[in-house]
Symmetry: C2
DNA sequence: AAATAAACTCTGCATATCAGAGTTAATCAA
DNA sequence: TTGATTAACTCTGATATGCAGAGTTTATTT
């Protein structure tokens, strides 16, 4: 059976990565606001994504408050694409608007 | 931001529910073999799905070894459909074969 | 009827998730 | 220009989740 990347298949991280994929570079605070999550929780999940090189940080200091900018790496983008393809194979995702399950298909 | 049903958004449970949706009623052993998972783990996840009424059991006894047949309930099927729709809104799932992320869209 | 095996279920450990307290650094007010 | 305030993180510990294997029950086999 297909494997779902456990790093991406978690509610907050899926949203986080999806958001980064769509919106590009984001600050810690932007992410916190967008996802409505606590500091500690966001930090913990970002750390995992950083450790896997799915996300990279660019820290800016000197001008204004110190800020970290988070971006999806090429590897992260690839992982997301693979993840989406796995979901598509696993779930009956046909076309937008027709996502309901009509007829069960027999097991393999 | 959209919420991803945490009961469904977990690797094993997503596969489990997807499989039940596609293949219909399955025994414990069938599920174990198909998913390649330990007894204890399968039991734990099935319990959660049962508690949420996403899945129902029918226990057969008397003729042959006692067996439990697990099925997706209408509620479970609905939850799965909602879950898929949420994924589609969240991720750039457009059409099969074109799932790559081409152009970032700006944040809300 | 004793041994074997299938079909579950329970227990406990390991890891993950999460919120809030703590820390550092910049801006603002006087 | 310095003390207060606030934004931007980071660390800590408490709770929940995930998991494997040991244990239990019930049927077959010999």
């Amino acid at each position: 059976m297909e494997e779902l990347d456990p790093l991406l298949h978690q509610p907050l991280r899926t949203q986080l990565v999806a958001f980064l994929a769509g919106a590009g570079e984001q600050t810690f605070s932007d992410l916190k606001r967008q996802l409505g999550v606590s500091d500690g929780n966001l930090d913990a999940h970002l750390k995992k994504l950083l450790a896997a090189d799915y996300v990279a940080v660019r820290k800016e200091t000197g001008k204004g408050r110190p800020q970290s900018f988070f971006v999806l790496t090429p590897g992260g983008r690839q992982a997301l694409n693979d993840y989406i393809r796995t979901l598509q194979r696993l779930l009956p995702i046909d076309a937008p608007g027709a996502e309901g399950i009509a007829t069960p298909r027999l097991a393999g």
